[in-house]
Amino acid sequence: MGRLTYAQAACTALAEAMRADPRVVALGEDVGRGGIFAQYRGLAQEFGPQRVIDTPISEATIMGAAVGMALNGLKPVVEMRVVDFALCSMDEVVNQAAKARYMFGGQGRVPLVARMPNGLWSASAAQHSQSLEAWFAHMPGLVVVTPATPADNYALLHAAIESGDPVIYMEHKELWGSEGEVPVGRRVALGTAELRRTGGDATLVTWSRTVHTALEAAEAAAKRGLAIEVVDLRTIWPWDRDAVLASAAKTGRLLVAHEAVQAGGFGAEVAATVAEELGVPVKRIGAPRIPVGYSKPLEDEARITADRILAALVALCDRPGPGRSAARR
């Protein structure tokens, strides 16, 4: 297949899934003209308006209708444009999609994929820049996916459509144009992390766009003599506890980095688990608890940069602990 953008990778996976299974349909605003990020480009031409369904700006009913479609035999892929707009569909996500199977005692299932692009969108201010993955991870019934690369966006979208559960599928708002090798036919199981870099001094757990920032920070840390292991969770729920615990047991230190507000973020869950299970030093880095401002100096205050991750890594590795660096000193 060669190199594809993040948007093309998703589009390719969706087209393959729609060819393979007539129950798969896509619905949402503007999908008939390829979607506003070109992540549906060409699908309306290939599959027609019956299966690539242009909808009104009715987020609650886009999601609610998708629940009804799923309960009645379809596998809808729902376009929410950005997670910030998906907030208009929270009853349908939380009280309907996530609950229907359980509260009806397993009489129905809701196999739907809700695409809710997540993360800080430059110069787009407070209502287009949120990172809300922790909200959905908190909700029994949901799967939460946060791909960082074109290859994962291809493989994980396939996995999400195949899963049979309601999946909150959170592409990053600023990764659409990023390019990478996409091995067609490759599948990734939901809930499996990817080791992006190996190292023995500290484990850096992250996901989505912050994976790239974390790799930059790890490269800079290497120049200071710190060998950082970078774990890309890829799926927030379920998260790959085994991979994280194995890495943290090896390095003896854990940093979790994410774009979302640090307070109550998913990093807290990862850090608490590692602290409970291993008793090693843990640290988090996330956004301050502020809305994302429009003006660049304000926006930058909310941005998790490689410099900030590097500073957190250095501070973590300076702390005494059972990790290798401490042993070396």
């Binding site: 349909v25 019956q50 299966r51 369904i53 909808t55 009104p56 009715s58 609650a60 009913t61 999601m63 609610g64 209708a65 998708a66 629940v67 009804g68 479609m69 799923a70 309960l71 009645n72 035999g73 379809l74 809808p76 009853d91 349908e92 009280n95 309907q96 229907a100 199977r101 359980y102 509260m103 009806f104 005692g105 397993g106 009489q107 129905g108 029994p140 019934g141 949901l142 799967v143 899963s163 049979g164 559960d165 309601p166 939901l190 809930g191 729920w237 379920p238």
Partner: protein, 340 residues
């Protein structure tokens, strides 16, 4: 409304459905005494039906009249006040009562209770605890029918309070623009919990709002089961003919409180006694008598319904509780488990 020509056999069948719903509601109300945690009342330990119980007593003509025009493969969505719709669609009263009692043999294995009662095997896609939430779900279920090229329809029941929520506008508009096979049924019992809906609703009300997005229909006396039946029959014929969604506004009255422990003291007693005069079973019984159906025959129908529901209550008493392990089942395939 054109006057309907009474058919004694059909009216008697409708009466039987209403009598079964009434018997179910009365038995459920009795079993909930002393225990529902609502309206400031503490949850008692003795109640057999623990949860909030929203009774449809007095509203039986709406589900009976509409569902008499549905096939088993047709679908319905319902509300927190959904026992009548469930019975009228053909669900087994014993599995329903077991669900209200929280037993393993209930339709939902005890996971749903009254507010989420469902029987997918008869096309009953679930009662919903969120006002208006069934409307988009009904539209989506109908969308799936249309994409399959199938002939079933969806009847979507909701209350008068639902017309003030956004999904009402969105869902009706959706059904209209995609030309979906849905009959929207506004079962107007005049109250949004403790508040008269009329005081909270601008403009001309439910049918006018539906009309504004192109979904046309009829307004009917929701306590006259023949009128509901006739209107539903006509509208459903249009829906089945592929003419898009239709709207039925059936005006009835909530005889009981919002939940079973609500004495509804906020209502004028005269209003309630006038409403009881309009009781749909009484109306139907009078018509049947005029058509020559004897009092004994009606008594036989009521007694049969009461026996059926008494047996359901006895079965629910004796039924096993769910295993606690089932609390972890039917949540999701990926990422299920205890996780702590």
């Amino acid at each position: 409304m054109a006057a309907t020509v009474s058919n004694p056999q059909r009216l008697l069948a409708l009466y039987r459905t209403m009598a079964r719903i009434r018997a179910f509601e009365n038995a459920a109300e009795e079993a909930s005494k002393g225990g529902v945690a609502a309206f400031g009342a503490a949850l008692g330990t003795q109640a057999l039906v623990r949860g909030p119980l929203h009774l449809s007593t007095g509203q039986e003509a709406v589900p009976a009249g509409v569902c008499a025009n549905l096939d088993r493969t047709d679908l319905i969505t319902s509300t927190h006040r959904g026992h009548g719709h469930t019975i009228a669609k053909g669900a087994d009263a014993t599995a329903m009562m077991c669900e209200l009692f929280g037993r393993a043999t209930g339709f939902n294995g005890g996971k749903g209770g009254s507010m989420h009662i469902a029987d997918f095997s008869v096309g009953m896609l679930g009662a919903n605890g969120v006002v208006a939430a069934g409307i988009p779900i009904a539209a989506g279920a109908a969308h799936a029918i249309k994409l399959r090229g199938a002939r079933e329809i969806v009847a979507c029941f909701f209350g008068d309070g639902a017309v003030n929520r956004g999904p009402f506008l969105e869902g009706l508009n959706w059904a209209q623009i995609y030309h979906l096979p849905v009959l929207f049924v506004c079962e107007d019992n005049r109250y949004s919990a403790t508040t008269p809906t009329e005081a909270m609703t601008g403009g001309e009300g439910a049918a006018a709002r539906a009309h504004a997005v192109g979904v046309h229909g009829r307004v009917v006396d929701g306590n006259d089961v023949e009128a509901v039946d006739a209107a539903a029959a006509a509208l459903i014929e249009e829906v089945r003919a592929g003419r898009g969604p239709r709207f039925l506004h059936a005006v009835t009255y909530r005889v009981k409180g919002h939940v079973s422990v609500d004495p509804a003291a906020y209502r004028n007693p005269d209003e309630v006694s006038r409403a009881v005069e309009e009781d749909p079973l009484r109306n139907a019984a009078e018509k049947l008598a005029a058509l020559g159906v004897g009092a004994l025959e009606l008594e036989r129908v009521r007694a049969e319904a009461e026996r059926e529901i008494a047996a359901a209550v006895a079965a629910a008493h004796a039924a096993p509780w769910p295993q606690t392990a089932s609390a972890y089942g039917e949540i999701q395939d990926t990422g299920a488990g205890r996780w702590y």
